[in-house]
């Protein structure tokens, strides 16, 4: 029967089509504890993957972990199903990624915020101290009281790196400025507790601070809210958070996790994947201070001029921002 043959060949053709589609990449993303919708770090990664999907039509899979063992499990599940590349978001997944990457030497892995030295891993690190330096300068210039605040999630090296860069920027503008540094907590919930973030921000306002920079994931939503409620200024982190409270968010220390994820996927698609350490700073637009229609009234032309000058000098190497990770201290 010719008709059946026709159907058969059409089916075969269809199958070959799907095979051709399957030939493109199948990316997988594993978020850390904050989860896909933290409006900050993990969400930036999600946005990067989504941008890629919208541009190329290539779908991706993702997973939100609940415990350290799940991180390893999820990566292995992805790798086993032939997903490639697999991107882990956050330093806490470094150990898990190292194990899984060894088991699947033919799969490409990437990790954000940590260094894993394996031939099939791309480690993406950001020079947060540079971006924080610029936001520190802006904070000091915007402050009328000479007192600024910093609210971190947890007292861990990564957050001290933010705090140290911020401190240097503040002091560069106003050597006499006072900086209050507080951490939100000691458990995973430190990153997901906006109520506590708001309380700490209010206590810093009560001590005289009028600009507060947060590096605390979803906790920071509460910090920015408190700043808006009290008529003070907040500074966002990781994603551009200026839009959350227009006129009350001075700027955001944008960490281009979305760009890093997007470009990793793009490289994989074009067969240009590279492994090794990728360091993204001001020069690569990996970190930046955010300037858009929501905060343009807060940043005066003089402020902008000064910050742009510092930015150029950091890139040229004239200003050296001390990196806390180098020696574990904040002396500069």
């Amino acid at each position: 029967m010719p008709s059946r043959k026709l159907i058969g060949s059409t089916l075969l053709g269809l199958m070959m089509c799907t095979a051709a589609v399957a030939d493109t990449i199948k990316p997988g993303i594993v978020y850390d504890f904050g989860g896909r919708n933290d409006r900050s770090f993990n969400q930036a990664a999600y946005n990067g993957a989504k941008t890629f999907q919208e541009r190329t039509g290539i779908a991706f899979r993702d997973f939100e972990i609940q415990s350290a063992s799940q991180s390893e499990q999820a990566m292995r599940n992805f790798a086993r199903r032939g997903l490639n590349p697999i991107i882990a978001i956050g330093f806490s997944q470094a150990g898990a990624l190292e194990r899984v990457a060894k088991e699947f030497p033919d799969t490409d892995f990437a990790i954000i915020d940590a260094e894993v030295n394996l031939p099939n891993v791309r480690s993406v690190l950001f020079q947060e101290e540079q971006g924080s330096y610029l936001t520190g300068m802006l904070a000091a210039m915007a402050s009328k009281t000479g007192k600024v605040g910093f609210i971190g999630g947890m007292d861990i090296p990564l957050i001290r790196k933010f705090a140290c860069g911020y401190e240097q920027g503040v002091k560069a503008v106003d050597p006499k400025a006072e900086i209050f540094i507080n951490m939100t907590g000691t458990t995973g919930s430190a990153w997901t507790d906006p109520v506590k973030g708001g309380e700490i921000a209010e206590s810093q306002f009560a001590r005289g601070a009028d600009v507060v920079f947060h590096a605390a994931g979803a906790t920071g939503i509460g910090v920015l809210q408190a700043a808006a409620d009290k008529g003070k200024l907040g500074i966002g982190v990781d994603s551009n958070q200026n839009y959350l409270h227009p006129g009350s968010v001075l700027t955001s220390m944008v960490k281009a996790v979305d760009v890093a994820v997007d470009s990793a996927l793009e490289d994989a698609k074009n067969d240009q994947w590279t492994n090794g350490v990728q360091i993204l700073g001001l020069n690569e637009n990996g970190v930046a201070y955010a300037l858009d229609e929501y905060n343009e009234k807060l940043i005066t032309p003089e402020m902008k001029e000064k910050v742009e000058k510092a930015k150029a000098e950091i890139i040229s190497g004239k200003i050296k921002v001390h990196d806390y990770m180098k020696d574990g201290t904040c002396t500069y």
């Binding site: 609940q66 806490s92 470094a94 150990g95 947890m154 007292d155 861990i156 090296p157 995973g188």
Partner: protein, 366 residues
């Protein structure tokens, strides 16, 4: 059988089963509400936890954690003490295990390190329970409050130690270095490759947990100390009259309880991660309360309840993986429903079941 009492198989078998069915029925409704097929969800949960070797391995791995923390809560419960501090005691116990591994892993094989790690974990866990126990025994500060407080102190202490003291220089990760082979418990998948446990982290501490179950059973039901603990728990006033020192029993029971919780790190720290991580306890200490309640404080019951929660953890992860619309928060909802029905609403079906069996026995008598 006296009126109002139930045969044992009903009390220990039928009632928990009814509670479970109710919990899963409600969970199923939640799954339907978000527009997914509940039977598909159940299928993935079962397959994920018991359908293939690696899933089984993961289930047993989680089970091991719950056995330790469940036993810890149960022992304290027998003395009428509500130890909410399993989380902190397990965390600090992990520190003791890590210290033993860091000190010995380069010099001796794992079974020597393991002995020191067991002692270290139990001692550190017990020490973390000592102050709340003392305050309860001598000062009357309620143990629920003090053990909760000590959970917070434990997390603070650990963040400090991991960020400042135990972290290798230059590492971004707040964790210790990875232990060498002398500080790693053998994985079951390497001991018995034929079991086909995939890449699951289940390790020798699973058997340690089972041995500890036997020891706890002996302690509580076959030893003099256990008798004193149960007597004190049943009626503190009468036990004082019988010559049992409340201070001694409170302190000793809490030390045992804390030590058991501290051993959880054998599975997570020495068995699986091979380093001390921030937040490695991940709530297992709290789930231990539900495990102990569901297991009726008996080691056999605790093993069964641990297997249930282990399956929920592993099956839940698999479910979230297979059906992306069911997020990890949905899995927490399902776990919470099981805890709710098995723990808090334990007596939901009891009156009806009692009435049913009484009528049945009346008829049999008539």
């Amino acid at each position: 059988m006296t009126k109002g009492q139930l045969p044992k198989w009903v009390d220990y078998g039928l009632l928990p089963a009814l509670n479970l069915i109710a919990a899963f029925a409600v969970s199923g409704l939640v799954v339907v509400l978000i527009g997914e097929d509940p039977f598909e969800a159940v299928k993935w949960m079962l397959f994920g936890s018991w359908g293939y070797g690696e899933g089984v391995g993961f289930t047993l791995f989680y089970t091991t954690n719950f056995i330790f923390t469940g036993l810890a809560v149960a022992v304290a419960f027998h003395a009428g003490l509500f130890n909410i501090g399993g989380e902190g005691q397990a965390y600090i116990g992990g520190l003791g295990i890590a210290v033993a591994c860091l000190a010995f892993d380069a010099y001796v094989p794992w079974y020597i390190t393991g002995l020191f790690a067991i002692v270290g974990g139990a001692t550190f866990g017990a020490a973390w329970a000592l102050i709340p126990a003392y305050l309860q025994a001598k000062r009357g500060s309620h143990i629920v409050i003090t053990t909760i407080m000590f959970n917070f102190i434990a997390t603070t202490l650990m963040v400090y130690l991991l960020s400042n003291v135990l972290r290798p220089q230059g590492s971004m990760q707040p964790s210790t270095r990875t232990f060498t082979e002398g500080g790693q418990l053998p994985l079951l998948r390497n001991i018995w490759p034929s079991l086909d446990l995939g890449q699951s982290p289940v390790n020798l501490s699973f058997f340690l947990a089972l041995i500890v179950c036997v020891l706890v059973w002996y302690l509580i039901w076959r030893s003099k100390l256990g008798y004193e603990i149960r007597a004190f728990g049943a009626n503190p006033t009468a036990s004082v009259y019988a010559g049992i020192s409340p201070v001694r029993i409170t302190v000793i029971t809490m030390l045992i309880s804390g030590g058991l919780a501290g051993l959880m790190g054998m599975n997570e720290v020495m068995g699986s991660q091979n380093r001390l991580l921030l937040d490695f306890t991940a709530g297992y200490g709290f789930v231990g309360i539900a495990v102990a309640l569901m297991g009726r404080g008996h080691p056999i019951g605790i093993i069964l309840a641990s297997i249930l929660f282990g399956s929920l953890y592993q099956g839940g992860a698999e479910l979230a993986f297979e059906i992306p619309a069911i997020t990890r928060d949905m899995i927490v909802v399902i776990q919470a429903l099981v805890i709710l029905f098995a723990g808090a609403l334990e007596n939901l079906f009891r009156p009806a079941v009692v009435a049913f069996f009484n009528r049945f026995s009346d008829e049999a008598a008539a």
